[in-house]
Symmetry: C2
Subunit: 202 residues, 2 copies
Amino acid sequence: MAQNRVSARGARRREEIVAVAAELFARGGFRGTGMTEIAELVGITEPGLLYHFRNKEGLLRAVIEWRDHRSQEFARDVASLGGLSTIREMPAFAHRNQEEPGLTRLFAVLLAENLDSGAPAHDFFVRRYREMRDLVAGSILVGQERGEIRPEVDPRLKAVEILATLDGISTQWLLDPASVDLVESIETYARTLERDLARAED
Amino acid sequence: MAQNRVSARGARRREEIVAVAAELFARGGFRGTGMTEIAELVGITEPGLLYHFRNKEGLLRAVIEWRDHRSQEFARDVASLGGLSTIREMPAFAHRNQEEPGLTRLFAVLLAENLDSGAPAHDFFVRRYREMRDLVAGSILVGQERGEIRPEVDPRLKAVEILATLDGISTQWLLDPASVDLVESIETYARTLERDLARAED
DNA sequence: TTTTCCTTACTTAGTTGTTAGTAAGTAATC
DNA sequence: GATTACTTACTAACAACTAAGTAAGGAAAA
């Protein structure tokens, strides 16, 4: 077929399609978005899309992979700091999400759509969250080794909690941005966390 | 039409349908679940469903209302305790969710499907989360008046954070129950919260 | 430099399956 | 004997996807 061939023109077109699809999937979900809708916005016919992507699921995969790269890069950078420094980067993370709500929304919507095992991207999200938890837990462990973080903290449980809170705040913000201030909420949470993790010595 | 008439037989049938629909919406979402699928599982034809419910969205509304009643009852009971007592009821909340994952899953899936304003149940979820935040914030305020909770805590921001964490933990558990222990995670979070909210006096 | 020719990037037209929802008639129930 | 609770038969719209043909681009040959 065609997807394997590397052609500058085609690659550019594919990126264009992926960007549009990401936008629409973020709004309406995978199941709620039709190929026609995507095609129309790209300025192509429906079979034109299917020339570039084997099928709708292939397009979904491309969207996820593309967006995941950027997202994981950032996460890895932040986590590599280790310990409390990682936590202090959380407001930056919030700012980025606020300015680019598409990414945040895309993953929130797709995650829920793929909770069920058997859903097209279920395994991807299982893997992703395991990796993220490992990343955060590792960062906590580093903090404990440095003596910045209380040793009684269970890194794995705290990782679940931190990711949960960040996701949950983002979701409430996406639902009702007039009522929930993303940056303020995450900044406050970061302070809470710092207080929580730091050894009680004052 | 028919929905207004009150007939014992019909009411029972409607409940039956709502229960089945809730189960299927929880697995596959609203958009991912067909009327035929629901009808088949109820043991009725598709137009048979539409006799009881004006259309698919009407069925969704019925499902949400039904499940929301039970859910909010519980939330109200717990919040009425006020202060730290409310937080100490969180493990019970976790146990209930674990034993009845349908409800948890239903709301997680439907919430994400309705993030977009214009989605059929968007307004419902906006209202629901505002109410829940008010409920939790009120409970924190009570705790502060009693002197159980530090006065520096911002009740509204802490309410966002608490709901976020509970939702986020539930979602991770739904996605990957083998990796995330719902009850343990929430119990640990409850302890964290108690430590966080209590005045620092030891 | 122009012609040849293959590959890439599509289009038009159509298929098949499924969707929510309707119209009209019928069986059960009170 | 009317109201309630359906059924069968259908429709119109739309879903993802396929088949087959074509236009444009770029590289190589004449």
